[in-house]
């Protein structure tokens, strides 16, 4: 049936006109509909374009923030074990503190967390790039919605909602780092975390160690130790404080009685030495029994050197005598340790002896004599004691009698110590150490000055990837381990022993053994920009749509970043040294087994981040599988709980691993999306950003 139109015909003509058929009309309508639909389909494209424009803005700001945070943030992780018996015993030098953007930023402190592996594996992308990255061992990351300021911003959204952030679409982005980490400079050498800093002037370096970590063959006595924050001056302490004589051994050990390249046994006399009934050196002066009249501070003293009357003039005098004795033993020019005109202070070193000997001699002498300013008056009559020796330059000064220690003579005659000489020693001490530090970055015989930390304190070291690694076993176990050997840019002189493990003597870097081959050193070699270029890639994926986006277990923890404690991190009660076991050190966890060295780690600081799951502040402490959607989870999150994710007890290992999921959208509620886990999502590439990946630690500050 057709539709016919009756139209007037021209006069005299007869014409058959047929109208459109229904089929034709249908075709026409179809074409019109097609055109309309086509036009309509273009509308969402505009929306998508705008959405992607927004993602690009967010990605650009995030990428910039990441690179700036990486370059502008020094190591902000306090209280970590940096030294160990063997280079594999603590991971700081090669993983958790590696100068690599991912290693540094993937933490709750910088707001970049790995996307759960279960979810990451459901994302498709162009060329299947995401899956290929995961296959290569890379992580896919998501970020917190807040800015990264290194202040654990997760707590800006709190139960009281004192600051409720507007929704931030940055969480709909996921990103990854393309390109492999480089063989970066080693900025923490586990065998010896050089540089060591001490104030100048100062007494011989001292600290405390357990007997078991000290070199054998030394006459040591154990004293109980009550931990406190500061040790330099034993005052205002709580009761039952006493001091560990092992300190003397520490000094000997790393300042260099145990230096295979030549030790300095004389240093012991400056720190602690018994000569007949008298004790010489800094230790008995500073930490001995006080025998003066009653005073508020007296009650705090527990003597280890009876009848030495310390701190007092008498004990200080013996410290000063020992410092002069040391000058003589090191061959210091008498005109330097007893200057005829102290107002004239030369620059540089004397012609002899070796500069390090001059540095040490002036360091100890300047410190010991500075102490005299508190025990002897400057001017006659100040002390109210008739004939009391004073330090005024106008007089002969305070006489320092010569002393013989260990059968070796000190200065030949008494030295009159004056205020001018004290200043002379102080100034020469500073000038010498500043010059020595600036000129000898690879000579580790003397510590660096705390009051002037400079670039030259840090030698260039990298791992030798092309020589056989050092091998052995993890301390306290029979587990095999290996680590690349370090290569310094120049031979390290007098590496000596480490401060924390003085029993271990480090051989000279020119002799092979523990060190790599110098010909493999590359840090100072020329390079092209492309050699150090890596890329941050952002994709848009609505991963919050998954029903398990908060209940999925966290991504697999990178075990190489997470340490077991070096022995010193263990509390004393958790440390055992089994007799006859053949193992010098053994670790013991809270449960009494020696199988979990990680258990000895103390999360001494809430803000430790290198050792913990990057989702630490978000993670659930218990299963939420049966919990209703929308429930308040703030009470079951780890946040800053120091114990929930530590050790082998209870569910701690599962919490540490992120087994129970996390509050990944930062709203303190348990959320579930509408999408089943069986569905796959398409991740759309948003942007790529190249960044310069340096090999040497750099910090803008």
């Amino acid at each position: 049936m057709g539709v016919r139109f009756a139209a007037p015909r021209p006069s005299g003509m007869t014409m058959n006109r047929s109208a459109f058929t229904l089929f034709e009309i249908a075709i026409a309508l179809g074409l019109v509909s097609f055109a309309v639909v086509t036009v309509m389909m273009s509308f969402p494209a505009g929306l998508k374009a705008q959405q992607f424009a927004r993602f690009r803005v967010i990605a650009a700001t995030k990428a910039e923030e990441m690179v700036e945070a990486f370059n502008a943030t020094a190591n902000a992780n306090p209280a970590i074990d940096t030294e160990a018996l063997k280079p594999w015993d603590v991971p700081v030098s090669y993983r958790s503190q590696a100068f690599d953007l991912e290693q540094r930023l993937s933490s709750h402190r910088f707001g970049i967390m790995p996307l759960p592996t279960d979810i990451a594996r459901r994302l498709d992308s162009n060329g299947d790039e995401i899956q290929r990255l995961l296959d290569d061992g890379a992580y896919l990351y998501y970020s917190q919605p807040m800015a990264t300021t290194n202040t654990e911003e997760r707590n800006l959204v709190n139960a009281n909602q004192t600051d409720t952030e507007a929704p931030n679409e940055s969480q709909r982005l996921v990103f990854a780092i393309l390109g492999y980490p480089q063989n970066n400079a080693v900025h923490i050498l586990a065998k010896k975390n050089w540089p060591y800093y001490v104030p100048y002037p100062s007494p011989p370096t001292h600290s405390f160690l357990y007997d078991e970590f000290l070199p054998t063959g030394l006459n040591m006595t154990r004293f109980t130790w009550d931990y406190a924050y500061d040790r330099p001056v034993p005052q205002n302490e709580s009761s039952n404080i006493s001091w560990m004589l092992q300190s003397a051994c520490i000094e000997e050990a790393w300042e260099h009685a145990h230096d295979p390249q030549g030790g300095d046994p004389d240093i012991r006399k400056v720190f602690f030495w018994q000569e007949g009934a008298d004790y010489y050196g800094f230790l008995p002066f500073m930490y001995g029994r006080y025998t003066g009249p009653p005073d508020s501070a007296v009650a705090y003293y527990k003597g280890m050197f009876p009848n030495q009357g310390v701190p007092s003039r008498a004990s200080l005098m013996r410290y000063v005598q020992a410092a002069y004795w040391y000058c003589v033993r090191k061959g210091i020019d008498p005109g330097t340790y007893d200057p005829p005109d102290p107002s004239s202070i030369p620059t540089g070193f004397d012609a002899s002896p070796e500069p390090w000997k001059q540095v040490q001699a002036m360091r100890f002498l300047a410190h010991a004599t500075a102490c005299m300013t508190s025990f002897h008056p400057h001017s006659p009559g100040d002390s109210g004691i008739a004939g009391d020796p004073c330090l005024s330059d106008a007089g002969p000064g305070v006489p320092i009698p010569p002393v013989t220690l260990g059968g070796q003579a000190g200065p030949p005659a008494p030295i009159g110590l004056t205020d001018g000489k004290i200043r002379y020693y102080h100034e020469r001490c500073l000038r010498m150490i500043m010059q020595f530090s600036a000129e000898n970055p690879y000579d580790w015989r003397v510590p660096r000055p705390t009051q002037r930390a400079i670039m030259m304190d840090h030698p260039l070291i990298e791992y030798d990837l092309f020589s056989p690694p050092e091998t052995g076993t993890i301390s306290g176990s029979n587990v095999d381990a290996a680590q690349w050997k370090p290569i310094p840019a120049q031979p390290v002189l007098h590496a000596g022993a480490s401060w924390m493990y003085p029993e271990h003597e480090i051989g000279p870097s020119t002799a092979g053994g523990e060190w790599g081959r110098s010909s493999h050193f590359t840090l100072t070699a020329p390079f092209k920009p492309m050699d150090r270029c890596r890329q941050i890639v952002f994709w848009a994926a609505d991963w919050h749509a998954y029903e398990d986006f908060e209940t999925a277990p966290g991504a697999t923890v990178d075990a190489s970043k997470y340490p077991f404690a070096a022995p010193h991190a263990l509390t004393y009660s958790n440390w055992v040294a089994p007799t006859g076991s053949g193992a010098t050190y053994q670790f013991k966890d809270a449960l009494g087994s020696a199988t979990n060295p990680m258990c000895g780690l103390e999360w001494a600081d809430d803000h430790l981040f290198s050792f913990r799951n990057p989702e630490k502040v978000l993670m659930f402490k218990q299963s939420v599988a049966g919990g209703p959607t929308g429930q308040d989870v703030s009470a079951i999150m780890v946040m800053n709980d120091n114990a929930a994710d530590r050790g082998l007890g209870g569910v701690a290992p599962e919490v540490f691993s992120g087994r129970f999921g996390a509050d990944r959208n930062f709203n303190l509620r348990l959320d579930r999306g509408p999408l089943p886990t069986s569905a796959r999502l398409r991740a759309i590439e948003v942007a790529r950003f190249n960044y310069y990946d340096p090999r040497v630690p750099l910090t803008i500050r």
């Binding site: 009756a6 509909s33 309309v36 036009v39 309509m40 509308f43 969402p44 929306l47 374009a49 705008q50 424009a53 927004r54 803005v57 700001t61 502008a72 943030t73 902000a76 800015a147 990264t148 300021t149 290194n150 202040t151 707590n155 139960a159 009281n160 004192t162 600051d163 507007a166 931030n168 924050y229 330099p232 001056v233 005052q235 009249p293 701190p311 003039r313 410190h367 500075a370 102490c371 005299m372 300013t373 508190s374 025990f375 002897h376 008056p377 400057h378 001017s379 002390s383 205020d419 200043r423 100034e427 500073l430 000038r431 000055p449 705390t450 009051q451 002037r452 930390a453 400079i454 999150m637």
Partner: protein, 393 residues
């Protein structure tokens, strides 16, 4: 000629077809209209977001919300005596004190980077780093080596415990070095804590020996004091290292900022006493314990500087965008935390983009500003005389 009208069927079909076309077209146009409106709104929001990001970076670089050289008021330029605020001209609180460059008696602020050259012996800290703020000076009276003032003085304080040891050290022994403690103290006084953290080299020790004895800002010739502000604890002056680091020894920049957070005060805080308002060691816990939520909120209030993006006004149907930049130093890292917030006037929905950026330091910002007002102009053309900046005497 025979005319036949449309049949009813034909008419119905025609009307139905027409109706389909009209409905389809209407739907299409409606969808188009909504989509275009949504796209336009998104585009507008995106544009506002981009402008906001740019404005935040601009603020990071130029610090206008803290000190606007174009504005009539400059609340952070006040001064009382030698105490100033972050944008107080040195000429006001730190006039040229004379002394040849690179000498111990140089009592001026020198912008030349050589002034703090680490090879110069005057830049070396000469205090006793083992000395605590409560020390009885068993390790010596280090003020004979270095004090803020070159004047003669006497040390009768904090003597050792025994009367026999409690000796005076009179005789006017003038210290040979005083440039370093002088610079540290004057930076603290002139700019406050944030300024000190930025101006002093990163390896500086924030302590001086001040023979003037106890006062609100110095204590017994030992280390510096700071006004510590907390929500949960008492506010007041504390020995900075005692409250923040527990170890009572002279700290440096990292130790000073690793636990507490230091903020330049909100310009609103300039009404407080100068010796307090600008010298906060702002302590926050950042954990979820009771009270700390308030600390965090209070900290944010203290550091947030809201800004209306479109100062000249905007059409009512445009999204409203605001930008704020909070500045503080954490773990020795200067942080500029930016927030761009866009609110739709149609839906009321808000979206925010927060990020931290790296921009001009306070020192750089001060050198952008003319000492006598306005923006400083700089040119290295021969013969050109550059505008004196806030750093110039």
């Amino acid at each position: 000629m025979q005319h036949r009208a449309f049949t009813l069927i034909e008419l119905i079909i025609s009307v139905a077809l027409g109706a389909i076309i009209v409905v389809t077209a209407f739907a299409a146009f409606r969808a188009a209209s909504l989509t275009v409106a949504a796209a336009n709104r998104l585009a507008l929001e995106n544009a506002m977001l981009r402008v906001g990001v740019a404005a935040a970076h601009d603020e990071i670089d130029f610090w206008r919300e803290y000190d606007d050289p174009d504005a009539a008021t400059a609340p952070l330029r006040a001064a009382v005596g030698r105490y100033g605020l972050p944008f107080t001209p040195f000429a006001t609180v730190w006039p040229n004190g004379g002394g040849a460059f690179d000498t111990e008696d140089d009592q001026s602020w020198r912008s030349d980077e050589k002034a703090w050259d680490p090879s110069s012996s005057r830049t070396w800290y000469r205090g006793n780093l083992a000395e605590r703020s409560t020390s009885k000076m068993w390790l010596g009276r280090y003020a004979i080596f270095s004090t803020a003032e070159a004047n003669t003085f006497s040390f009768g304080f904090n003597a050792p415990v025994s009367p026999a040891q409690s000796v005076a050290y009179s005789g006017a022994p003038a210290a040979a070095h005083h440039w370093y403690p002088f610079q540290i103290q004057r930076l603290r006084d002139a700019l406050g804590f944030y300024g000190l953290c930025e101006y002093a080299p990163p390896n500086s020790i924030f302590a001086t020996f001040d023979p003037g004895g106890p006062d609100t800002m110095g204590r017994n010739g030992a280390v510096l004091n700071w006004y510590v502000k907390t929500q949960s604890g008492a506010n007041g002056f504390f020995r900075h290292e005692e409250r923040l680091n527990r170890a009572r020894v002279p700290p440096g920049k990292y130790r000073c900022t690793t636990k507490g957070v230091y903020a330049i005060p909100n310009p609103d805080g300039s009404g407080k006493p100068l010796n307090e308002a600008n010298r906060y060691a702002y302590m926050v816990g950042f954990d979820a314990g009771s009270g700390n939520a308030n600390e965090v909120g209070d900290f944010k209030k203290a550091t947030d500087v809201p800004e209306s993006l479109l100062r000249a006004g905007r059409p009512a149907h445009w999204p409203n965008a605001t930008v704020s930049v909070s500045r503080f130093i954490k773990d020795a890292r200067p942080i500029s935390m930016c927030k761009v917030r866009v609110v739709s006037p149609v839906t009321g929905n808000a979206m925010a983009l927060t990020f931290s950026g790296w921009g001009t330091s306070l020192r750089g910002a001060r050198q952008q500003r003319g000492r006598d007002g306005g923006w400083a102009r700089w040119d290295n053309a021969s013969g050109h005389v550059n505008t004196p900046t806030l750093d110039d005497p």
